[in-house]
């Protein structure tokens, strides 16, 4: 099983944490024999592109969640979707905190994994941190050493 990336969105629809486990050669643009035609596109930083991806992911899960709720009833929950290339897993807490994970298509349901991340990492290292703010504007308070380390170890243990 391969895990590509992981995102956390808060209740204000903001991406407060994102991490990618893709090797840079894979996630970067394919090796182009010609110099890029659009220098402006090249100038856009990697962070900006990652931010765009996060926005697209949020839009997708938001729409699909609403669709699932409309069709399956208010107690229904969107779990995952799969395309030919990747699989997206979704877990939402009662406080509208949303966890999203992208894996390869063969991965089993990662709902419990996302739940474990919430319980064992988020609650332990972010919520119980007295210095962490209530709202995580721009990822403030989430990017602490213990959380990042724990998450990385947990994910690498799964792969």
């Amino acid at each position: 099983m391969v895990i590509y990336s992981f995102y956390i969105f808060d209740r204000h629809t903001e991406c407060i944490y994102s991490k990618s486990w893709l090797p840079p050669s894979v996630s970067e643009a394919p090796s182009n024999p010609n110099p890029p035609d659009h220098p402006r596109a090249d100038r856009r930083s990697k962070a900006a592109r990652a931010g765009d991806d996060a926005k697209l992911i949020f839009g997708t899960v938001f729409s699909l969640r609403n669709m699932v709720r409309k069709l399956g009833g208010d107690d229904d929950a969107f779990i995952s979707y799969r395309t030919g290339q990747y699989k997206l897993h979704y877990y939402e807490t009662v406080s509208n905190l949303r966890f999203v994970m992208l894996t390869d298509t063969a991965a089993p349901s990662m709902r419990n994994v996302l739940h474990q991340i919430y319980i064992n990492l988020w609650v332990e290292y972010v919520v119980k941190n007295p210095l962490s703010p209530v709202e995580h504007k721009g990822g403030e308070g989430v990017k602490n050493e213990l959380f990042e380390l724990g998450l990385d170890q947990f994910i690498r243990g799964l792969m």
Partner: protein, 162 residues
């Protein structure tokens, strides 16, 4: 094993067919909501294609047919990334089949339903036979073909009673 409903979306994102086979599987929503759902799904499907995290390198040149002039310049294009194929929720499962022309077949089933891809291809065959071959059917317009309705209903009933 139950098939709940079928939705067909044309290549512009418009709802052209919508039928429920099993009451109580999905919430009842109005036709207007179905139209909104079709449009939303069409957009989301396009975004899921773009989100592909594995952008495999497509620049490798191949020499599969060196006899053809100019073949050396043809780059081996990677398989285009597909959009959403299966969506799972706690109460249902949604299988999407995107045809070559961009028409989407959405089949809603219960979470334990197996072989949905076979079912959805059979539905596509029926669509080709009874809708596309109907001389009175106008392309991209809502499907109103009695034969299609009848054949589809009997096929799905067979699956639901299994």
């Amino acid at each position: 094993m139950t098939v709940f409903a079928l939705i067909i979306i044309n290549k512009a994102g418009g709802l052209i067919y919508n039928r429920t086979f099993h009451e109580g599987g999905l919430n009842k929503i109005s036709t207007n909501d179905y139209l909104v759902l079709a449009g939303t799904f069409h957009g989301v499907h396009a975004i899921t294609t773009r989100l592909n995290p594995v952008k495999n390198a497509g620049g490798d040149r191949t020499s599969t047919s060196p006899s053809v002039p100019g073949a050396a310049n043809i780059v081996n294009r990677p398989e285009p990334s597909s959009g959403l194929e299966v969506l799972e929720s706690e109460n249902f499962r949604l299988q999407c089949f995107n045809t070559m022309t961009g028409t989407k077949f959405l089949l809603f089933t219960d979470t334990t339903q197996a072989n949905v891809d076979v079912t959805i291809r059979r539905v596509y065959e029926m669509y080709a036979d009874y809708v596309m071959k109907n001389p009175f059917y106008q392309l991209e317009m809502p499907v109103r073909c009695d034969m299609f309705d009848r054949k589809l209903l009997s096929y799905i009933r067979e699956i639901n009673n299994r």
